[in-house]
């Protein structure tokens, strides 16, 4: 081990990276599990089973007397949200399914009135009866861990093979003096154990620290303003440590055992004769390398082919890390552009603050005018949404709709044929009266509060390009034979109707952060003033519980000003309404932080994957003095100059670093092309923001590391004495 330090280093690096990855994985999984359990406890409660019934204190005490019960609490609306129940907490979760039926029996409650907290129990691998949810967290983790271990074995066993091959001559001698294959195997595995003990411990500890950092980052990047999200607090359990060590041990042991088994089976003669020199089984030309680097290029190509097995780890890890990194960068860039185009840019001039006014109808929300008066507010629109139906008669359909085939392409409930025509969804946006009047002015009709404006447009359903939708008139305008009234029908009971005048058919929408007819292209959207809604709501109903306040601040508002404005709106509504506010700039920043956070995490994984390859290249090149000594001596003996040897090294380094990139690029380009097509994004839009620089940096980092490895190897190789090699009798 002392003699072949470079190979030992490769084994140590491999073991360290394996331990680091697996420890990181297990640490992250444990914290994901912990977070999910905490979330369920926060949202649904930490009870394990629930028995319906109006229980007295004595009953609860009787429940608590059960050996595995930790606590029993009365819950007034625990059963079905209406009936009282007893929430039971168990100290031993394994006893929940066994003890709860006994408790119910004792209390005289039928078994059907028992409810289990299926989501929480599933976190402890307990499947509650009747729980049909998939509960994939554990199986997914086991699958990922197995896949990671398998990938690591494939990747790192070669480092062990290299290290073991370096002493094959010595093994031959051992074998020739009578060491059995078993003894050789044990010797090699012991050696691996001694080499790996330190790195495995260090890797595991660093993995734990890494998972703590990542858990912290999950709080920092998305921010804490995501509604319903609670802080993730890092935790660790001794069992997780044991599991991590077991997974690492198994991975390293299998990786070491594979080459040890092969070498232990060699005959003494095979082992002694094997001088570990790189051989080419078949001759194969390297025309490109020969053209670029001359005969040195050809020699480099041949040497790389002969080293193919030894460099497989590097080739795979560079290929996958670069591929993953480039794809990740492109996907996130596409996603950022897409979100920007379809959300932030589209609604940039529409809203700055959105407030959901919980459980308040539009007529009950009285603060719109006061919000408009706030300093820095340009406009504020209060609105509520409702659902309704409407029949579109054959005669009402526009020529354009007819040319699209009418409703023939509508699916499911989008359009149902009735005697009077097609029954379609008619979502309603109810605007406060002032905003409705402003909308009328915006579309050029005299403001009135006794009629509706119909969004008279339908997307060309024959064109799947959702990014650049083509809108066509839905109905005939009144002056072209269309109706001047619209009959809205109650959703679910279409016999209940309300006939309202139509003030205008338009393709323009009011400045609201809303999307229309995206899922159901055949929706016929109606904009109504609040006064009109007040008159018809009892007939057709269908209004959502909440109202919304869409606030547009003055031009050039800053994030701090918006936050201050949010505070003022909150103060105005304090005690009167329950508000949930969003701020456009904060949302934009949060989205940005989330993307950067995810990119950091994925990027770190890609870098870690690349580090495995870099470790392999270093272990291989640092072993050149031993492994390729004779090869270099041969080059020197025919008169290859140091400069030409350097050229050969450059060619090898270039191929090692650049080939994975060249192999990945077509895949990345094809994937990006596919994604652009699927998202109907123009190539030039993507190219303008394409992540060339980060990809280039990643590529340069890999290339730089490889160059460094080959430079160090070159320095070592220069110390080879041709005379010494020629004196070596084993030179074949």
């Amino acid at each position: 081990m002392r003699e072949k330090r470079s190979f030992g280093l490769a084994v140590r690096v491999s073991a360290f990276i394996s331990a680091l990855l697996l420890s990181l994985l297990c640490g992250l999984f444990y914290n994901a599990w912990k977070y999910e359990a905490e979330r369920i406890e926060a949202e649904e409660g930490g009870w394990h089973s629930r028995i319906a019934g109006d229980f007295s204190e004595e009953d609860l005490e009787a429940i608590k007397n059960f050996a595995n019960v930790e606590d029993a609490v009365r819950n007034e609306k625990g059963y079905g949200g209406t009936e009282p129940a007893a929430d039971i907490y168990f100290s031993d979760k394994g006893a929940v399914l066994k003890d709860t039926p006994h408790i119910a029996e004792l209390l005289g409650v039928p078994q059907e009135r028992i409810v289990y907290n299926g989501a929480l129990l599933a976190m402890y691998l307990i499947r509650a009866p009747g729980d049909t949810a998939p509960r994939l967290l554990f199986p997914l983790f086991l699958l990922i861990t197995l896949a990671a271990s398998f990938s690591l074995i494939v990747i790192i066993h070669n480092s062990f093979a290299l290290s073991m091959n370096a002493r094959i001559h010595q093994l031959g001698i051992l074998s020739s003096v009578g060491a059995s294959p078993g003894q050789i195997r044990i010797y090699l595995l012991w050696e691996a154990a001694v080499l790996c003990a330190g790195p495995v411990i260090a890797g595991n500890l660093l993995g734990i620290a890494g998972s703590a950092v990542l858990v912290r980052l999950t709080n920092v990047f998305p921010g804490n303003s995501v509604p319903g999200r609670h802080q993730a607090v890092f935790g660790y359990h001794p069992l997780v440590l044991a599991l991590t060590f077991f997974a690492t041990f198994l991975t390293v042991w299998i990786s070491a055992r594979l080459p040890a088994r092969r070498l232990s089976r060699l005959t003494p003669l095979e082992a002694i004769k094997n001088v570990g020199e790189l051989q080419l089984k078949r001759k194969k030309a390297s025309p490109l390398l020969s053209r670029l680097f001359g005969v040195e290029g050809e020699l480099a190509g041949n040497a790389l082919r002969a080293q193919r097995k030894a460099l497989r780890t590097a080739a795979l890890s560079f290929l996958f890390s670069f591929l993953a990194f480039a794809l990740m960068q492109c996907v996130f860039t596409l996603s950022r552009i897409s979100t920007g185009e379809t959300y932030f840019e589209r609604y940039q001039d529409v809203w700055d603050i959105m407030a959901a006014v919980r459980e308040t109808g539009i007529e009950d929300f009285k603060e719109t005018a006061a919000v408009r008066e706030l300093e820095g507010v340009e406009n504020a629109i209060a609105y509520q949404k409702a659902v309704a139906k409407r029949i579109v008669a054959e005669a009402e359909m526009s020529e354009e709709l007819r040319s699209l085939g009418g409703f023939s392409q509508a699916s499911g409930d989008s359009a149902v044929q009735t005697d009077g025509g097609w029954l379609v969804n008619a979502p309603i946006a109810i605007l406060d009266d002032q905003s409705f009047s402003a909308y009328c002015e915006q579309i050029g009709v005299p403001p009135r509060l006794d009629g509706a404006v119909v969004l008279n447009r339908i997307r060309d359903v024959t064109d799947p390009d959702f990014r650049h939708p083509v809108f066509l008139p839905y109905l005939k305008a009144p002056d072209a034979g269309g109706n001047a009234v619209s009959v809205l029908r109650q959703y679910g009971n279409e016999t209940m109707t309300a006939e309202i005048p139509v003030l205008a058919y338009t393709q323009e929408v009011p400045p609201l952060r809303e999307e229309y007819a995206t899922l159901d292209h055949y929706e016929l959207v109606h904009f109504l003033p609040a006064s009109l809604w007040k008159e018809i709501k009892n007939r057709i109903g269908g209004a959502e519980e909440d109202s919304y306040l869409c606030v547009k601040a003055r031009e050039g508002v800053t994030s701090e000003e918006l936050t201050a404005l949010q505070g003022e709106i909150g103060r105005l509504c304090d005690g009167k309404y329950t508000l949930e506010q969003e701020n456009r700039i904060q949302e934009y920043e949060m989205n940005d932080r989330q993307i950067r956070g995810m990119m950091t995490v994925f990027g770190a994984f890609c870098a870690l994957l690349a580090v495995i390859g870099i470790g392999n290249v270093f272990s291989n090149t640092l072993g050149f003095v031993h492994q390729r000594r004779r090869e270099f001596a041969r080059y020197m003996s025919v008169g290859m100059t140091p400069g030409e040897m350097r050229k050969l090294f450059c060619a090898e380094a270039l191929v090692t670093a650049v080939r994975p990139v060249l192999l990945s690029l077509p895949v990345v380009i094809a994937a990006v092309w596919g994604m652009l097509r699927a998202s109907y994004m123009e190539a030039d839009v993507f190219l303008a923001e394409a992540p060339f620089l980060p990809i280039l940096w990643f590529m340069l980092a890999i290339a730089g590391s490889v160059a460094c490895a080959y430079f160090l190897a070159w320095r070592n190789v220069r110390t080879i004495s041709l005379a010494e090699v020629l004196r070596d009798d084993s030179m074949l």
Binding site: L278, L280, V638, T641, P642, E644, A723, L726
Partner: protein, 226 residues
């Protein structure tokens, strides 16, 4: 015409009590077209002499002049270029590049210099050495004798001033040994190639026209046989 001249050539390995003198004041002169055998037992210093003549090693003292070049003044690159252009080296274990075909091995010194081979010379050499039909083979697809012939062809392709052969028959059976020695003789006569053959085998040495015997780093005999 003198092609090789050694004056007071010394080579000492190590220092202090572990010091070993491999060559101790060698004076030697070889003329163009001569076939000289250096005969000596193992450890006599004959391989060290060859390594110094082939610029593989530097002498500790004295001067070596090959074809007008003072070898002691060459740096690493110049030594490599000298090895490539001025001397042809043939080793006991052939030293062929295992990843190149026989033809590419033979042409390697020229290819490194980006020179086009003289096809006529190439055909003559490979024809004379009997390897014209083995040119596409990789070294490990050839027998020991064939590999040594390829090594000889590679040493001759640049028409070097001096062909240095270090125990070229040491790894061959009797038949192949004879063939290789015959080939060296042939190239000596046919191409007027100066050859310095190092061997411990007296029988092989007797094939040369001049036999220099070396012992403990000193020349103890210099016999012209014809």
């Amino acid at each position: 015409m003198e092609i090789l001249k050694c004056e007071g050539l010394r080579k000492v390995y190590g220092s202090g009590r572990g010091q070993v003198t491999a060559l101790d004041g060698i004076d030697l002169s070889v003329s163009k077209g001569e076939f000289v055998a250096i005969l000596g037992a193992s450890g006599s210093g004959k391989s060290t002499l060859l390594h110094i003549l082939g610029t593989v090693e530097r002498p500790t003292g004295g001067r070596v002049i090959v074809s007008g070049t003072d070898l002691s003044k060459l740096d690493q690159t110049q030594a490599a270029l000298f090895r490539r252009r001025k001397v042809g080296l043939v080793y006991q274990f052939y030293n062929l590049i295992p990843t190149l075909t026989a033809e590419k091995n033979i042409l390697l010194p020229l290819t490194l210099d980006k020179k086009k081979p003289d096809r006529e010379l190439f055909d003559r050499i490979t024809g004379a050495l009997g390897i014209a039909d083995k040119l596409d083979a990789l070294p490990d697809q050839l027998s020991g004798g064939e590999q040594q012939r390829v090594a000889v062809a590679r040493a001759l392709i640049y028409r070097p001033a001096l062909l240095l052969a270090d125990e070229p028959t040491g790894n061959l059976d009797q038949k192949n040994s004879k063939e290789v020695v015959d080939m060296l003789k042939l190239s000596n006569r046919g191409l007027e190639q100066t050859i310095l053959l190092i061997t411990h085998d007296e029988k092989v040495a007797m094939e040369a026209e001049r036999v220099i015997t070396i012992e403990d780093g000193r020349i103890i005999g210099d016999e012209r046989r014809r």
